[in-house]
C-alpha cells in the first residue's frame, strides 16, 4: 500500500470511528451534509486526527466548518510541516 493510500485509509478510519459507518463521506461532504457531524463531534474529530497522525492542528480548525477534503488537506499540510 502506498503512503497516500495509507493516509487515506487512516483518515477514513478516524472519520468512521467518530461519525459512524456506511456514511460514504466524499471530499465535498462536511458538517452541512453529514448527519451527526455537529460541533461536538467536530471537536472530537479534530482531536482524533491530531492523535492518530501525531500532529497539532491550528485552533481555528476546531471552529471551522470544513469539508472532509479541506480537512484532509489541512492534515497533509501539518504532516509536511512537522
Amino acid at each position: 500500500m502506498s503512503v497516500a493510500q495509507d493516509f487515506d485509509r487512516i483518515f477514513d478510519e478516524v472519520l468512521e470511528d467518530i461519525l459512524g459507518w456506511d456514511l460514504a463521506i466524499g471530499d465535498d461532504d462536511g458538517s452541512g451534509t453529514v448527519e451527526g457531524w455537529d460541533s461536538l463531534s467536530h471537536v472530537r474529530l479534530i482531536h482524533a486526527l491530531e492523535t492518530r497522525f501525531a500532529i497539532r492542528l491550528p485552533d481555528a480548525a476546531l471552529l471551522d466548518e470544513p469539508t472532509a477534503g479541506s480537512l484532509k488537506r489541512l492534515v497533509r499540510e501539518q504532516l509536511a510541516a512537522s
Binding site: 467518530i18 459512524g20 459507518w21 456506511d22 458538517s31 452541512g32 448527519e35 451527526g36 455537529d38 460541533s39 461536538l40 463531534s41 467536530h42 471537536v43 472530537r44 482531536h47 492523535t51 485552533d59 476546531l62 471552529l63 466548518e65
Partner: protein, 508 residues
Amino acid sequence: MNSLPLHSAASQTHQLRFSEDDLLAFADASGDWNPLHIDADFARGTPFGRCVVHGSLLTLGALGCLPNDVLTEVRGLELTFGGAVLVGEPVTAETRYSDKANAWEVRLSGRGKLLTRVVARPGVLPGVDSRPSDPISRRPMRVEPFAPELADEPAVGDQVEGAYGSKPAFAEIARHRNAGALDPALVEALGWASYIVGMEVPGLHGVFAAAKLSLLERDPKDGAGGYSLRAREHDPRTERLVADGRLETRSGATVAAVIECFRRRQLPELDAAALLPATPRPASGRSVVVIGGSRGFGAAATLALLGGGHETHAVYSTTAGVLGAANVGAHEERLILHRADAQDPGQLTPLREAIVERGLPLRGIVLAAALPPLAMGLTAESALPLSEYVAASIRLVAVPLGALMPLLDDQGFILFCSSSAVTAPPRDWPHYVAAKGALEYLASWAVAAAPGVRSVVVRLPKLATAMTNSPSMRIGATAPEAIAGRLIARLEGDDFPSGLTILEAEEL
C-alpha cells in the same frame, strides 16, 4: 466472533421520552448524582438550560429498541453523545443492521438533529482491551461530585481507583427500558461510566461525549466491585479527556472501557472592580432596570449602570450570582434585586410597583435575558420546538417591555441585546436567529410607539458566559466586562440619538 441475529434489515423507529422521575431513579440506582441531571437551578447555569438526560440512560432506552435475541449476543457497545437530550424532550430511535460492520446501530434524533448513536457488536471491541492496573483501592463511591478547583487540570497518566456497584434497582431500570436481555456486566458498566464522568473524572463539570465498553471475561467467583481508570489524553484547549478503564463487577465479570468526556470550564467571576468605582459616584437621581441582570452581559451592564450612580433594579431568574453584597460593596444600597421570571407578567408587577414607589424617573431598560440555544436542525418535526423557543424568547423581551415602557422618561433608552449571529447565522441555530430577528423588530416598533426614546440594538459578539461554556463555543469568546463598560458609557454620554440605532459587534 459471533454474528448478531439479523431479523429485518429494514429500520424500525420508536419514540422515547425521559421524565424527571426517570432521571432521579437513574441517579439513585447508578450513583451518578451530578446536578446537571437532577437540579434545574444548576442546569440553568449551563449551556443546556435545563436538566439533561444521563447518556447511559439514553443508551438503555436505545438498546431497548433492539430485539432480545440481539441483546443477549452483545459483547461490545459504542456510545456517542453528540447533543444533549433534555428532560421531557421527545426523541425518535431508529434501528438498523449493517452486514458489513456486523453490528446493530440505534440512532436517537430530536430537534431535527442526530443526538445519540449506540452501536452494539457481538465481539470484543478492537482497541478496547487495555488494562490499567488491577484496582487495588476500594475508596467508597462518592455521594457528591468531585469538584476540582479552576486551576486543577487533569494530567495524562493520572489514575483513579475505587469501589463501584449499582443498586439492584438499576437492573430494574434496564428491564423497564426493555434492555433487560443485555449482559448484566454491560448494564453495570453503563451505570459505572455515567458515575465516572458525572462524579469522579471530571466530576461536577463533566460532559459525557462517548464510550466504548467491551466485555472481556467472566469469572464465576464473586468479583470485587471496583474499577481503575487512567487518563490517556487531555487537551487544555477544549478540556477533552480520554481515559482507559477497567471495571470488575461484583458478579465476577471484567469490562474494559475507553471513556471520552469534556470538562466545562468554571467561568471566572465577572470583574466587578473593573466596572464599579471604589467610591460610589453621586446619585444620578434616576433608575434603570436590567432584565437578566445577574449573569453574563446583563450582570456586567448592571455593574456598569450601578457604577454610574443609578438606582439599578436587576431582575434574575435563579441566582443573584456576582451581584452579591461582597462584590458590590458600598454600591449595595443602590442595587435592588428582583427574583422573577421575566416571561410571566404577574411576576413583574412587584418590580413595576417598586419603581413607582421609589419615585425616581426610569432612565433605561436593558433587555439582556436570553434562552440557551441548543443546536437544532430545521425539519417539519423540529419546527414545533423551534417556534416554542422563539415564542418564549419574545416573551422574555415583550413582557418587560410592556410592563416598563410606560414608566420610561422622555429621553430614556432601551438596550436590546441581539447577536452577531443575526448577520452570520450559525447553521445549528435557526431558532436563535429567528428569536433575535424578532427582538430587533420589537426595537424598531418601540421607536414608533415612543418617538423620543433611544432604542439601541446591540449585536453582541460571542461572549464568555455560561451560555457559551461548551468545548467549541468558548474558543474566541470575549469577556463581557469591557464591552458592557464601553456601551453603557456611550449610553450615558448621550452618544445615541432618539430613534433606532443598530450597533454591530465590530463597533463595540
